[in-house]
Amino acid sequence: MKIIVLVKEVPDTYGERKLDLETGLADRAASEAVLDEIGERALEVALSYADANEAEVVVMSMAPERAATTIRKGLAMGAASAVQVADPGLAGADLGLTARTLAAAIRTAGFDLVVTGNLSTDGSGGVLPAMLAELLEVPNLTALSSVEIAADSVSGTRDTDDGTMRLSAKLPAVISITEALPDARFPNFKGIMAAKKKPFETLSAADVGIDPQDLTAAASIMTAIAEKPPRSAGVKITDEGDAGVKIAEFLIENRLA
């Protein structure tokens, strides 16, 4: 079985995250770059299956060249190989172009199962897994809080406000997972040392047959960008014996109760 796990370099959520007001892109210099935690959890799903079964785990990312170091962490954790689509033409790609590029790269690599996080901590789009499944013409199980992989199928649980759903699909398929799944394993020293010897393929958009400038494809255009307004001071309630009532009123008024 070949499992492709999508990973992504993102600005560390512990740091301050900023947009570059000139380009509208994430200001990657403003904070430390890390592997998105949800992608690490997705990789853990694949690796725990590979621990007990015959499976090849590939980490894949569409990211600028310099993200290679971050992607290599996936190899250190235990993935067998990595594929990075790095192309200056893809800078600022919208979800449509990202999905077309990744789908093409996944198709080129070949796959039985694609595992992704439900949404990244930077873009927070949350629709990429569904777009990939559409383009790859395979079933899609989204937002799984538990996953069971079998030789020819995948199943899992999705928690919703109304109840819990059991879902399953024949392979090949695309699944996305939530933070309910376990933390990823630490890469150990042996894994880190082994990572530099593992296959790491860097592809351009043309290598996977994608033209980032293709004007016939639908694309979103950003028309305006503004800095996040500074936080206002908030409401101070001074206790004159009635603070409890005032807080309750505030919560009800703002529909927070």
Binding site: T69, K73, A76, N188, F189, K190, A195
Partner: protein, 377 residues
């Protein structure tokens, strides 16, 4: 530094942040030695950092190791220091043991499923380590060991004890290094000492009462023990220095945050030049200590001829500087620095002993000074 070195250090940083830092305060308060956490450190590869790979070690350099101990100590200085001692034991068996000894004891130590203890100091022999009186009497193919070892880290929890014992004449040349496995009849332990700091690791006497082990448990030749013990301490000293720097760096980071948050006389503490100067001195001291530690680590990696003095100098400087920095961080925190919940006083307590163990800082000066005097002759 290479990308691989950075990735290794990142992995240790993540381990310290996830597994050590959130628990350090509780382990200190409860006097809890987290054996399960040490097992996970072993999975990472921290049980035999510079032990050879054929027996499960990580095969890394001393330069890698000092950076790792600094990161570990930011999470928990006491546990970092224990891991340093454990690595010293694993390295001694890997380096001075024969193939059978290496295969028997090192894999468990490297995985940290087995812990190691170093037994040199005695109630009557500390800095004057050649004066030890613990005896190992030859009886056929066995040694029969009698004596008491003092201040043994991990005692009672370890699987492997390296005991320096007298097999011959008085002085350094009559000492041998002998491995005593846990469970050997006659091996006992004193009470867990009540200490100023280092609460998260046990310190006990190791009591050897007619302990019988095969002669095959001796590392190296008869009479090599003192040299083996000292060789182990070279690395032990810079690792302890690195633990000091890591703990102190953590207090400095806390202090920097605190002087921004805390207002006195209508302005943040950070607006006082005296506070800024204090921070500058703290940073300078730690960078100087780090540079000396890296220099000594490089010399260990290269097998330089002046490695003993280089390690002694780095240990003396780093442990003194780091204690001073942590104490300054406490002062910058005012009364809050004295409260347990801020964690600063814990690091001050933990770092104090680094100026004493692995060779007191007075002995470090003796090593550096003698080297100068003899070199000039």
């Amino acid at each position: 530094m290479t990308e691989e070195h950075d990735a290794l250090i990142d992995a240790v940083r993540e381990f310290a942040a996830a597994e050590l830092a959130p628990n350090a305060e509780r382990w200190d308060a409860d006097h809890h030695f987290p054996v399960d956490t040490l097992r996970r450190a072993g999975l990472l590869g921290l049980g035999g950092i510079y032990v050879r790979e054929d027996v499960g070690g990580s095969g890394l350099s001393r330069l890698d190791a000092v950076a790792m101990f600094e990161e570990l100590a930011k999470g928990d200085t006491t546990i970092a220091a224990y891991i340093s001692i454990h690595n010293m034991v694993a390295w001694m068996i890997d380096t001075f043991g024969d193939d059978e000894q290496r295969r028997r004891w090192v894999p468990g130590l490297a995985a940290m499923t087995d812990l190691g203890s170093y037994c040199l100091t005695e109630p009557g022999a500390g800095s004057d380590a050649t004066a030890i009186t613990t005896s190992a009497r030859r009886d056929g193919d066995d040694y029969v060991i009698n004596g008491v070892k003092q201040f043994v880290s991990g005692a009672g929890a370890s699987a492997v004890y390296i005991v320096m014992a007298r097999t011959g004449e008085p002085g350094a040349r009559g000492i041998s290094a002998i491995v005593v496995p846990d469970g050997t009849p006659g091996l006992g332990f004193g009470r867990n000492e009540e200490k100023m700091g280092w609460h998260a690791q046990p310190t006990r006497q190791v009591i050897l009462d007619d302990v019988r082990v095969p002669v095959a448990n001796r590392l190296g030749a008869e009479g090599d023990g003192f040299g083996i013990a000292m060789r182990g301490l070279n690395g032990g000293r810079i690792n302890i220095g690195a633990c000091s720097v890591g703990g102190a760096q953590w207090t400095l980071d806390r202090a920097i945050r605190y002087v921004h948050e805390r207002e006195t006389f209508g302005a943040p503490l950070a607006s006082n030049q005296s506070v800024v100067f204090t921070l500058a001195d703290m940073e300078t001291e730690l960078q100087a200590a780090r540079a000396l530690l890296q220099r000594a680590a490089n010399k260990l990696d290269e097998g330089a001829s002046d490695v003993v003095a280089a390690c002694a100098m780095a240990k003396r400087y780093a442990t003194d500087a780091a204690f001073g920095v942590a104490n300054s961080a406490l002062q910058l925190h005012g009364g809050y620095g004295y409260l347990r919940e801020y964690g600063i006083e814990r690091v001050v307590r933990d770092l104090r002993v680094h100026q004493i163990l692995e060779g007191t800082n007075e002995i470090m000066r003796l090593i550096v000074g003698r080297n100068l005097v003899h070199g000039a002759r």
